[in-house]
């Protein structure tokens, strides 16, 4: 791995919160932990902080790598680091694992101190608004009154948008990448099939599989395989796999024959090996529920009336899960509210996954916008 422009070795930190968090669902979590990483240096007036929000399967390990594993590059290492579009020489970047996650922050697989057992099915359904609330408390720990920017792709983009609505005065710029103002029925349908794969797995045990020493791997694997198909584009799959057969000839069996089958099963197995089924369910639900226009009779213009931030909205031409049309809805609502907004529609072949890819033009857009933000504060 080329680590020359990487932030280098990083390590996760942990914050304990003892003020109860009241969720949208009505549930209350008396105390919880958030695991996070930071890169770069917070300046003296704490004006150079950027919060990076993760998507469905992401976590706090956004950039750099761990000392004991040089292959453990963070999920957005191509975007964040010294001299990279989000330049850690200028910005102080925070990545965290969201509440309900399975990478160290309190979630369904954590031990509930009240019972001594994993929360499992008793862990509440978490919303994007709840996450923003918990992220604001993390910002408080650093004394960050206002983020220079909140950045996110996909579900992370939804959190970035929500920041501008929940805490309009605590965020200067919002970067909404490959996101949508709410999921379509088709999108919810995909999520429901994924959830059903998990919920009907005999090893799911109503969410309390931990104490039985099993994992609903079959369900998780199917959920991930389905999700993965929707993150790619027809073109990307055709280019990468086409109709290639692993053995070069038809086997007249139901074994793995096509390369795409092999790839999806590998991805499914890998994911089922480390991700928590309850977290997957909870993340998809957060996606389905996000809809800031809901309180305003479906009027997104009215929902964004609260926003004070400047926006950069980015979409990708082959992203059909969060298509450019959906990003343009966000842009329209911002225009109607006279917000400062720029919108870039990036030509890319990688579908929804494009937001994670190394792409020169995409990175130029983000770099140009971040340079503008950097001009607003003194390092």
């Amino acid at each position: 791995m080329d680590t020359s422009d990487s932030i280098g070795t990083v390590s996760a930190q942990r914050a304990q919160f003892d003020t109860p968090l009241v969720f949208r669902s009505g549930a209350v979590l008396p105390r919880y932990e958030l695991v996070y990483e930071t890169y770069g240096t917070l300046n003296s007036d704490k004006s150079n902080a950027i919060l990076v929000c993760h998507a469905l399967s992401g976590n706090h390990h956004v950039a750099g790598y761990y000392a004991d594993d040089p292959k453990s590059a963070g999920w957005w290492d191509n975007m964040i680091g010294p001299g990279k579009p989000i330049d850690t020489n200028r910005f102080f970047v925070i990545g965290l694992n969201n509440l309900g996650g399975c990478h160290g922050s309190t979630g369904p697989s954590s031990i509930n101190p009240a019972t001594g057992k994993p929360y499992g099915s008793t862990f509440t359904v978490v919303t994007v608004e709840d996450w923003v609330e918990s992220q604001a408390r993390l910002a408080d720990i650093f004394g960050i009154e206002k983020f220079a920017a909140v950045v996110g792709g996909s579900l992370g983009g939804m959190q970035a948008m929500q920041w501008s609505l929940s805490y309009p005065d605590r965020v200067g710029h919002v970067l909404v990448i490959a996101a949508a103002p709410h999921l379509t029925a088709e999108n919810i349908a995909f999520n429901d099939v994924a959830r059903n794969a998990i919920l009907t797995d005999p090893d799911y045990f109503g969410g309390n599989f931990y104490e039985r020493g099993v994992v609903p791997k079959r369900g998780l694997r199917l959920a991930r395989m389905l999700g993965h198909i929707t993150y790619l584009s027809d073109d990307a799959m055709a280019n990468k796999f086409g109709r290639s057969l692993r053995s070069g000839k038809l086997g007249y069996s139901y074994d793995i024959e096509f390369e795409i089958e092999s790839y999806l099963r590998y991805q499914g197995d890998k994911f089922a090996g480390y991700f928590d089924a309850n977290t997957y369910l909870l993340m998809t639900k957060a996606l389905d529920y996000f809809d800031p226009a809901r309180e305003f009779d479906g009027n997104l213009d009215k929902a964004f009336a609260a926003a004070r931030a400047d926006f950069l909205v980015v979409s990708f031409t082959t992203d059909w899960r969060f298509s450019p049309e959906r990003s343009r809805e966000i842009v329209s609502a911002l225009l109607h509210n006279r917000r400062n907004v720029s919108y870039a529609e990036i030509a890319s072949t990688h579908g929804h996954d494009s937001f994670l890819m190394q792409d020169e033009h995409y990175h130029d857009v983000v770099r140009a916008y971040l340079d503008r933000i950097a001009g607003e504060f003194s390092v």
Binding site: L312, R328, V331, S332, L335, H336, R338, N340, V341, S342, Y343, A344, E345, I346, A347, H361, D364, V365, A368, Y369, D371, R372
Partner: protein
Amino acid sequence: MSAHDPIELAAARPDFAAIAEWIPEGASVLDLGCGDGGLLRYLKETRSVRGYGVEISGANIVACIRNGVNVIQGDLESGLSGFESNAFDYVLLSQTLQATRHTEALVREMLRVGREGVVSFPNFGHWKARMNVIRGHMPVSRELPYQWYDTPNVHLCTLRDFEKFCADLHVRILDRRVMTRQREVRLLPNLLGSMAVYRFRRGQ
């Protein structure tokens, strides 16, 4: 001096200064086909306008962001549906009219989203262009730098053509500036002017 110094910019693009003269302080402006955002930046610095650009080229999107102006990537030819009616004081179309396919629909859209429209375009009736045609060639000049086979200009017109077009569309012309290089042309403008800027609004 920086490449974006207002004085230098005005010298490089004489239509910038002409347009700026018509735009009052603090106006809201939509610049269609805004290129690298130079005009919007110029208007921001000289007139404190609030505004947005619309631009199709990815490289220009980056340039606009670097110029500190709002830019929306999109194709003018597919309309301005993302913009509300009467959202802007001025809708600008600088040196772009002649390269649009659905010119009539676009001018109508300009006057739907804006109170007034401003366009600048090269005058195909300029004597040099006429001389080119008389000599048997398509015009190639400072204002029309393309060969017939590589030009993006599909709807070139003369001043008289544009004025008739406005009359047919019930568009009321409020003001006109005709120029050659940086000098204003008052005598025989359709013959002696190489570039024109018009300001107009919906007719009664």
